[in-house]
């Protein structure tokens, strides 16, 4: 027998507010302005995802079902596994070349298995002065409410330690695999000492989370993330390039008193393909023509925001 449910008309709460306590509602026109350094109109963060996908993930792990590809995903999935691996062997070097050409300082979301298995990739990013953030265990393991609190805590700790071991510095930021969280993730991230999280694509500006400790939600604009557009929705690469430029241009003209953040999610297995790389290059060539842009690592932007919004 199923437990009794509230009536169809029941509200999750009386009056104003959300149905969770992670952060407060905030309407765009009612915010206190937070200006960027040197009057920049847009803070521009490039998120480079370095991911290991398991060929044989443990039972009970959850993988985002939208990435099965044209033929579906069955066990053992050499196709999807090696397609991702192409990104780490070939694609990433095309992506890094494009970043170098346009002077991009990226923020790297590196998962634990990648950091452990391919330290050379972490080193290539470190040489360039990129910030390295933690990104879970593997691309095959979303954080979900199916995990126990102990498992989730261990996953976060392992991800942080693996990045620290490979990069030589403790990560400040967190990127959940495929924007995944359980209902307790923000609290556990704050408890683990992280200072920002880029899991919530609900805003063009950072905001503070309500987790007892200072944890900033950094924008992560999934709407034009390369995988959301080109792998899931099959938007064509030239159209993706246009979308990126249009979004950048709009945020740049909209920002006046308060700056926005423009984030660009880049997955080497996708954009590093020979037929797509030119569109990343073209998008970066266009965005680098704008003045009053603060191209920075996510951690720098989160710190700036925190210092200007929390009382001294």
């Amino acid at each position: 027998m199923s437990e009794a449910k509230p009536p169809q008309t029941a509200r999750y709460r009386q009056g104003a507010g959300y149905d969770h306590a992670h952060f407060e509602f905030s309407a765009l026109p009612r915010r206190q302005p937070v200006p960027w350094p040197d009057g920049a109109r847009v803070a521009f963060c490039v998120y480079l995802y370095l991911e290991y996908l398991e060929l044989d993930p443990p039972k009970g792990t959850v993988r985002d079902p939208r990435y099965g590809g044209a033929l579906g995903s069955y066990f053992p999935d050499y196709l999807n596994y090696s397609h991702r691996e192409y990104g780490n062997r070939v694609g990433v070097f095309r992506v890094l070349d494009a970043f170098d050409r346009h002077g991009i300082k990226a923020t790297v979301a590196a998962n634990a298995m990648l950091a452990e298995r391919y330290p050379a990739l972490i080193e290539a990013c470190r040489e360039r002065g990129f910030e390295i953030a933690a990104h879970g265990t593997a691309a095959s393991r979303m954080i979900t409410s199916r995990m126990s609190e102990a498992e989730e805590r261990a996953t976060i700790a392992h991800a942080i330690e693996a990045v620290e071991a490979a990069a030589g510095a403790r990560p400040a930021g967190w990127f959940g695999q495929d924007f995944s969280e359980s209902a307790r993730t923000p609290r556990l991230l704050a408890e683990a000492g992280l200072s920002y999280v880029a899991d919530w694509p609900n805003d063009d500006q950072p905001y503070a989370m309500n987790v007892g400790k200072p944890l900033i939600a950094m924008p992560n604009q999934a709407q034009w993330d390369d995988t959301q557009q080109m792998a899931v929705r099959r938007v064509s690469p030239p159209r993706w390039r246009d979308v990126v430029i249009e979004a950048f241009d709009y945020l740049h003209q909209e920002a006046s008193a308060s700056g926005s953040v423009f984030t660009l999610g880049v997955h080497p297995w996708l954009l590093g393909q020979a037929h797509r790389i030119r569109y990343l290059d073209e998008a970066l060539a266009r965005t680098s023509q704008y003045g009053e842009v603060w191209q920075a690592a996510a951690g720098e932007v989160a710190d700036w925001y925190r210092k200007r919004t929390t009382a001294a």
């Binding site: 449910k5 509230p6 009536p7 169809q8 008309t9 029941a10 509200r11 999750y12 709460r13 009386q14 009056g15 104003a16 507010g17 959300y18 149905d19 969770h20 509602f25 905030s26 309407a27 765009l28 026109p29 009612r30 959850v62 985002d64 079902p65 939208r66 979303m142 979900t144 409410s145 199916r146 959940g176 495929d178 924007f179 995944s180 969280e181 359980s182 209902a183 899991d199 919530w200 694509p201 609900n202 805003d203 063009d204 999934a222 709407q223 034009w224 929705r233 099959r234 938007v235 064509s236 159209r239 246009d242 979308v243 990126v244 249009e246 979004a247 709009y250 945020l251 909209e254």
Partner: protein
Amino acid sequence: MEPDRFTYSPIVDRPKLSWPGGARVAVWVLPNIEHYEYQPVHLNARDPWPRSPHPDILGYADKDYGNRVGVWRMFELMDKHEIRCTVSLNFAVIEHYPEIFEAMEARRYDYLCHGIYNTRYLWNVAEDEEREVIRDCVETLRRATGRQLAGWFGPAASFTLNTPDLVAEAGIKYCTDWYHDDQPFPIRVRKGKLITVPYSMDINDAIEYRYSTEGEEFARMIIDHFDTVYAEGAESGRVMAIALHPYLYGQPHRIRHLDRALAYIKGHSDVWWATGEEIADHYAAHYLPALEAHLTVSGAERRAEA
């Protein structure tokens, strides 16, 4: 058994429908302003977040963007074009997001009720429970504005076989759950009267978002659709609905495409920029009697020929 809710009626055979001022097309613009639950309690037939065990923060945050950011850009755009919108509204938004409600009231927007939450579907809901949902919505609007609810659109386009009867019973004039016409049309109900007003599942950004359509293509769709109904409207009036979601077209890469499409339509005369209730009222007062007579006569003719 087939419910037989309406009479088959080819649009080309009907008497001429005239809009106020001799307009060819009644255009109504419908932002869908919604709340999707973080951890939905009722799972009726459809899983709102099928990607993973709940919560799905990608889905949740995507929608939340509309209320935090997108809707404010969309309000500004509608102000620029002087468009009075009909908001397809999850009615709990009135309570949970007072800033949004105030902004809509300040603009005298019309409300088309879109249920309570967009994750609370009517699929398989028992008749009494559905009646209670509709009554709750009628009461919510009366409490907030003193006005009687005029229009109904099932939450996330969910329905039961009883919906039209229950909507009419609650004193609601029109519903948008039927996608079969470019003009309003009467729907048979147990008691009272009900008409449909054409909404759109074609000129609808949330439908197109499920595929690869981006702003450039969607603006093209709006313009092409308008050109066709505008030409046809010279013969007999048409309705064009533009169904929008602030979480999609309040995005920085899309809003200028919407601006461009609206400016194109604004550049035409003989367009009636109307709300859902205005369309329903005009149709009921000035056209419905003639249509009913036409349906009776043409029905009698059909029987005589048989």
